[in-house]
């Protein structure tokens, strides 16, 4: 079972290290990376300052395993990685990182979009939007 959940934000350094690890894989010609960044949304004059993520990890790991398997069956990929933050992630910080690699560029785009949408729709991850005024509301993905 691959480690998906990262405590705290996904840093630019973490992303750089992931990219560097793929530079010894000479069969790769194309990478596609999706990053979800916490946006300062405004809801009735309250501004989001951070999102506090929790998850049902045991179920999430099984769901993500299935998503990963399906992506490998559907697309011609060399490798793929999914990371999601747990804990409080401030606006401007990255909380979601999908990394797809393939021999040719044509194979990466749709796979990335599939993975992002499947995680949003199927993974039991919960987000509490913390506003600047210390109130909060629970985030709901459109796909629910």
């Amino acid at each position: 079972m691959k480690q998906v959940f990262v405590k705290g934000p996904i840093t630019p350094d973490f992303i750089a290290t992931s990219i560097a690890k793929h530079q010894s894989k000479y069969e790769i010609g194309a990478h596609n990376i999706f990053l979800g960044q916490v946006r300062a949304d405004e809801v009735r004059n309250r501004k989001v300052a951070a999102i506090d993520f929790t998850c049902y990890e045991k179920m999430a790991n099984e769901v993500l395993h299935d998503i990963r398997e399906k992506a490998f069956r559907t697309f011609d990929l060399t490798c793929l990685h999914i990371y999601h933050s747990i804990g409080e992630i401030k606006v401007g910080e990255v909380c979601f990182f999908v990394f797809v690699s393939a021999k040719h560029s044509k194979d990466v785009y749709e796979a990335t979009e599939y993975l992002v949408n499947a995680v949003k729709k199927k993974a039991p991850i919960f987000g509490k939007e913390l506003f600047e005024d210390e109130t909060h509301q629970w985030k709901v993905n459109k796909t629910w």
Partner: protein, 78 residues
């Protein structure tokens, strides 16, 4: 004893992350109704996972002791 787990806004409403309940000849639908009455879950649009798999709220699958039932609010990953 079956384990009942609560997440996100559901845990906020139930004011706990988990509890253990004695199950005897109950199916998913019956456990759901029991918890729905115990806490007011009406506005939460929750789903149920039995042993980490989503099941229908009206499911007649039997819940056994040692099973884990989770009440999940809308997902918000990504």
């Amino acid at each position: 004893m079956a384990t009942i787990r609560y997440f996100g806004i559901v845990a906020e409403v139930t004011q706990r992350n988990e509890e253990y309940i004695e199950i005897e000849n109950m199916n998913v639908s019956e456990v759901w109704n029991l918890l729905y009455a115990k806490y007011d879950l009406s506005t939460l649009n929750a789903r149920v996972a039995l042993n980490q798999r989503l099941v229908d709220l009206n499911s007649s699958i039997t819940v056994n002791n040692n099973d884990e039932l989770a009440l999940l609010p809308p997902f918000a990953g990504g």
